[in-house]
Symmetry: C2
Subunit: 310 residues, 2 copies
């Protein structure tokens, strides 16, 4: 049998937890799935659509006899939850999380877990702009990376089992130092999100350009920003508060570089602009070649397009 963890417990039942539950069931990776969420509505939905076999309002009741506990909460809520459930975990249990920040989560969670529990922090690089238990789908992790940032002295068997779980859900697994993870993600995710939120906020502020114009003519680039900026506010607040240093460092570089481009526009320095825009174009090609995005125009969003490509 391919069962890796007889009893899996999700603490938090949002997009990632619900997708994991569906992927685990699809591949028969566990026998029983139970869940806890703070909101009664979320618990009811999760039970109703069959994500979990049982739900518990009390996280301590949920983690009884767990073989794997998945902390799928906003990053800022992980420490308190670990303190609550830590004393009630059986020896040998694996605990993982799916937070977008790793150093802060490790510092918040690790001290509360017994030494005979294996804590292996993780981060699946997958998601959509939707949240909640209904937003999950089993294929979310297909071909995506799942980064694990274990302690150097992690139990090798426990680590190997979690890697296998991630792979069987369709992901590719990579191991990384937690601090390095936080810097990489500040570049590929956290700073882009903050910038998108800001641009959408500016558009919203602008009295002279009415909302309806901004919305009607959004196809020119802005709509891509609005997708990013429609992600879960609590999750993102916690990301920025908990990856402060790396985000501020990348933001600093961003504002420096933007100031240079602003200056080039002001001075009419076309050569500088052209050289800059040419360099960035190549990166897109690399992302498509690496299988991390579609080469279809506009992400393939206009599915009925026919092209003249020959």
């Amino acid at each position: 049998m391919s069962v890796l963890y007889p009893k899996v417990v999700f603490i938090g039942l949002g997009l990632i937890a619900s997708s994991m539950a569906l992927a685990m069931r699809a591949a028969n990776l566990c026998e029983v799935i139970v869940g806890h969420a703070r909101s009664k509505e979320t618990r009811d939905v999760a039970l109703e659509i069959g994500l979990v076999d049982a739900v518990f309002a009390d996280p301590i009741a949920a983690v009884q006899d767990a073989d794997l506990v998945v902390l799928a909460l906003p990053v800022g809520a992980m420490g308190e939850m670990a303190a609550l459930i830590g004393p009630h975990l059986k020896a040998g249990t694996t605990v993982t999380d799916v937070g977008s920040v790793k150093v802060a989560v490790i510092l918040a969670v690790q001290p509360h877990l017994p030494v005979n529990v294996h804590f292996i922090p993780g981060h699946p690089i997958a998601g959509t702009e939707f949240s909640g238990p209904r937003s999950g789908f089993a294929r979310l992790f297909q071909g995506r990376w799942w980064l694990l940032t274990p302690h150097p002295e992690v139990d090798t068997q426990a680590f190997a089992r979690l890697c296998e779980l991630c792979r069987k859900m369709g992901a590719k697994v990579d191991q990384m130092d937690a601090a390095h993870h936080d810097l990489v993600l500040a570049v590929t995710s956290h700073t882009p999100h903050l910038i998108a939120y800001t641009m959408v906020g500016v558009a919203d502020d602008l009295g002279r350009v009415t909302d309806s114009e901004v919305i009607q003519y959004s196809a020119a680039g802005f709509r891509d920003f609005t997708r990013i900026a429609s992600s879960d506010p609590t999750m993102w607040r916690d990301v920025f508060l908990n990856n402060k240093e790396a985000t501020l460092e990348i933001l600093g570089r961003f504002t420096d570089e933007l100031a240079q481009l602003q200056n080039a526009i002001r001075l009419g320095d076309g050569a500088h602009l052209h050289a800059y825009f040419t360099r960035t174009r190549a990166i897109r090609r690399n992302i498509i070649d690496a299988g991390q995005d579609t080469s279809a125009a506009n992400f393939g969003r206009d599915a009925k397009e026919t092209t003249t490509k020959s």
Copy 2:
């Protein structure tokens, strides 16, 4: 018959011109299409794939007997081209352009055209990250806006005919003051593009985070920026140089607002961040309701997703 312009001439044969040619042929809106492009390769491709019935290396030869001339060039090249072809246009010809900036184009083009020629500036809010004659497709304008910024004393018949052409290519037509157009587009398009270029440039610069990591883990938000930042460098250089004031104004607001969010992160002001991110989320919903984007997760790029939505 629905022929609106017997002879149509495209000056420039990139994404927009090739899509227009295909859309016009599909709806039988013209009898003959000819084209000019500076590059021999572009001309050869356009002829080979049947976009045009004839190509000319000399733009003056191309515009002979034209009923409609479409300037589909980078914004910075329009004035010189108008000076060249202006004296060779027959009375009653309509000239339009498809530039992303309107005031600068009007100032550059209008003085070179004879008074008996109807110049009606235009801007289809449609495109992809691809360029060149092979990137066009007939459905590009379907459901998209085509903004026209005519002079108040425009010939009403000529204007009505151009509106009909745009509608028959699938677009919705709106009329707007040129300066207002440039401000709206600075918000919905020009500033977002500059920001995306900058973010991708920063990622490229960052020695400590290797290129391959940025690319591998790009699914977390960054890949959307790279799509925008892979657009045509010459076109975008000209946009910024020719919509300088509006772009710099919006950029100024953007950097102010970003500084406030940076400060909130620095000070750990979670309430400010959460309120900001909640506000921007609503705008996405409006864009989807307005039919300007798909509600499918991740733009529907993972087409084989199945969801648990009930």
